[in-house]
């Protein structure tokens, strides 16, 4: 049995080595060592996920077991949800490192150590069972992410993006720390299980304020409306492998933090209140807002960034429904979205590598020679819309029966984000219609991030995209994923099982009975979304052949100026939105709970 501590320790040690020796070792050694480390993490995390489906287990650092009801040590709780997210983080890191093989500009050798520190922090965050450690890993993850985002220090735009990202997320971290201080002052505990027990049934003002501050902190990372402004800026300027990790796993880990906190610390406090509905409302608003902004965007990485906002909103909505079925759907959604979004970012990276621009009008018709990237991009667009045969379709078939009206939100968000990606595909790879409207944000200069003078696209660049999109399709046809998701969701919501694991060392996971899911209805809706996404994309691309009053998609594409001006690029504005959002969240929580 591998020690869970290795998930964090090994990448950190290798990162330190690579950092110290970065001027001495050749590039291929750094590539190989970091890929092997990430692959090792992937193996361990997969092993722990398989183990956690039957038995969730706690690991105490230094053997500091609890004495009586008092938790003394710091623990890693190895449950299905957390381990699966650690595995997803390791998988995406491995693929991102393979993508960066040899030709990717490594920022003076800082790229590999930073990626491994980032991986260590994400793994630790996913399995931490201690509130303060959750904060420390959150901060470590953020710091590595800030540095990775601003890796291209020879251009001003990445610095601006990284600065906005760092300021908003640091403010979020301080709010979290304030929340942690409140909880500690109320209970004298930092372990999640002990906190949950101490707070059971209690919702006075102090506990509510702690909930508001902690949730705000996590939702900033999860890029929920109105905390999401930093995300498109950070994505537009980050190197491609970094975008993959940001969109595929880091943002979702922010949501996971809020979920973990709710499942352990606050579930007992808020049982019977309507607090979870706050997440449903925030999630729905974010999903629609992100989808709209995504469709109006013409910078490829920013477009994908807004679709991440939209889909994380859908996940937040699923979390707010707070039922085992919805959480099982959320589990599949996390994995499926992570893969498909990573695949799309890899494809965008290939375009950037080949043509040195990310602007949709500038790329018009230029992708026609890329015979391998085109099908992957189109499949990715359909996958994002949740068309049948992709993991997202199964995920939605789990979530929507819990509250049938959510089908509408899933439909609009899936269709618009999928249509935006397909529209880009039609223009760039096929050359239909015209180049589309010129857009200021699409003209951000982007220098090449690879140092291959021939600009050839080789197998190493294709493989990660193929693996991601292919993986998402395999999950869409594999029945086993639903069983894993249900077992993980069942142990995730089971707080008494969590407490038992922390105090007794391990808990046997009750195997959930297979449920008859509304699969046929799910497939119908999924097909409808796929067709609608393709139709909207064609409608937008061929707008000149359509009578003027019927050109709705191109209106949505071109005339969103006033709304898009909110995305002002000024960190002060973003922090003002953050403060407002925190105040509104506080008002809602106090209104619903008192």
């Amino acid at each position: 049995m591998p020690s869970p501590a290795l998930l964090v320790a090994v990448p950190l040690i290798v990162a330190a080595l690579l950092g110290a020796l970065r001027r001495l070792i050749p590039r291929w050694t750094a590539d190989l060592l970091s890929i092997l480390t990430a692959a090792g993490n992937l193996t361990m995390a997969c092993w722990w996920t398989a183990h956690a489906l039957h038995r969730t287990q706690v690991y105490w650092f230094g053997g500091w077991f609890p004495r009586g009801r008092m938790v003394l040590g710091i623990g890693f709780t190895m449950d299905g949800y957390g381990c699966a997210l650690a595995a997803l983080a390791a998988l995406l890191t491995t693929l991102a490192l393979i993508y960066s093989w040899k030709h990717f500009e490594s920022g003076g050798g800082h790229f590999h150590p930073l990626m491994l520190v980032f991986l260590a922090a994400m793994s630790g965050f996913a399995v931490s069972g201690d509130l303060f450690n959750l904060f420390v890993f959150f901060e470590l993850m953020s710091t590595a992410a800030f540095a990775l985002c601003g890796l291209k220090t020879h251009e001003p735009a990445p610095l601006a993006g990284a600065f906005n990202f760092a300021v908003t997320n640091s403010v979020a971290a301080f709010l979290m720390l304030t929340g942690i201080a409140f909880l500690y002052s109320a209970t004298g505990a930092l372990n999640l299980a002990q906190l949950g027990q101490a707070l059971a049934g209690r919702h006075d003002r102090l506990v509510l304020a702690a909930f508001v501050f902690l949730t705000t902190g996590f939702l900033v990372k999860a890029a929920e409306f109105p905390f999401h402004f930093w995300l498109p800026d950070a994505h537009a300027v980050s190197p491609t492998p970094v975008c993959v990790l940001f969109s595929g796993i880091m943002v979702q880990l922010g949501l996971f933090g809020a979920m973990r906190l709710y499942a352990t610390v606050f579930q007992g406090c808020f049982a019977g209140t309507r607090i979870p509905w706050i997440f449903v409302v925030i999630g729905a608003a974010t999903a629609l807002w992100g989808a709209m902004m995504c469709f109006a965007e013409h910078h490829l990485k920013r477009l994908l960034a807004f679709s991440t906002i939209s889909h994380t909103g859908l996940m937040t909505l699923a979390f707010g429904l707070w039922s085992k079925a919805a959480l099982a759907g959320l589990f599949i959604y996390l994995v499926g979205h992570g893969l498909v979004k990573a695949g799309l970012f890899f494809c965008a990276g290939i375009l950037l590598h080949r043509f040195e621009t990310m602007s949709e009008p500038a790329l018009f018709r230029r992708g026609r020679a890329l015979h391998w990237t085109a099908p992957l991009w189109f499949l990715g667009g359909l996958g994002l819309a949740g068309a049948p045969g992709f993991a997202l379709a199964i995920a939605e078939a789990h979530v929507t029966p819990v509250a049938p009206w959510t089908e509408a939100i899933f439909f609009i968000a899936g269709t618009l984000t999928g249509a935006a990606v397909l529209r880009v595909g039609l223009r760039v790879f096929i050359g239909l219609g015209d180049a589309g409207p010129v857009d200021r944000s699409a003209t951000v200069d982007e220098k090449p991030e690879t140092n291959d003078p021939g600009r050839l696209v080789n197998t190493v660049l294709y493989f990660p995209a193929l693996a991601c999109i292919g993986g998402c399709m395999v999950l869409g046809f594999w029945n086993g994923i639903a069983g894993i998701a249900r077992a993980s969701a069942a142990s995730f919501v089971n707080f008494s099982g969590y407490v038992h694991m922390v105090y007794a060392g391990a808990t046997v996971v009750a195997q959930p009975a297979p449920v008859q899911s509304a699969l046929l209805k799910g497939v119908l809706w999924a097909g409808l979304r796929g067709v609608a996404a393709a139709a909207v994309a064609l409608w937008a691309v061929l707008h000149l052949r359509i009578p003027r009053p019927l050109r709705w998609p191109s209106h949505l594409e071109g005339s969103m100026r006033p709304v898009r001006e909110l995305q002002s690029g000024h960190p002060g504005d973003y922090v003002a939105w953050l403060t407002l959002g925190c105040a509104l969240l506080g008002a809602a929580v106090f209104w619903l709970a008192l």
Binding site: V136, T143, A157, S170, V171, A181, G569, D573, T579
Partner: protein, 117 residues
């Protein structure tokens, strides 16, 4: 002169608001980073206030009588961790400001808005 027991909490809240105001209204990137450290100092005050006990020793037990009152060492440890983490972030941010000034020729967040819409 003695202050009411919850006085430090109001101080912490006030510092937090001052820092946020500073970030929102900032005209200079260095000013913005310093405002961020002001936000952070509110957490110092809060944490120390939570662990504080009147007429108590520092939590170093060598030489203290058994059962002596000490202030809470855990919040102090939290604060120290916070200091370490944030020093890194502030150093990184200031490095970015230096680079932004070098490459973009400006230290005003208003002129650094390459990413809009």
């Amino acid at each position: 002169m003695s202050f009411p027991a919850d006085y430090p909490y109001f101080v912490a809240a006030w510092i937090l608001l001052c820092g946020l105001y500073g970030i929102v209204r900032s005209r200079h990137l260095v000013h913005m980073v310093i405002s961020l450290t002001v936000v952070q100092s509110s957490t110092y005050v809060l944490l120390l206030a939570i662990g504080f006990r009147r007429a108590a020793y520092a939590p170093v037990f060598a030489g203290l009588p058994v059962g002596a009152r000490v202030v809470d060492p855990i919040v102090q440890a939290l604060m120290l961790t916070d200091v370490v983490v944030e020093t890194t972030v502030v150093a990184l941010l200031l490095a970015m400001v230096v680079k932004a000034h070098e490459k973009g020729g400006t230290t005003s967040p208003d002129d650094l808005r390459f990413l809009r819409g």
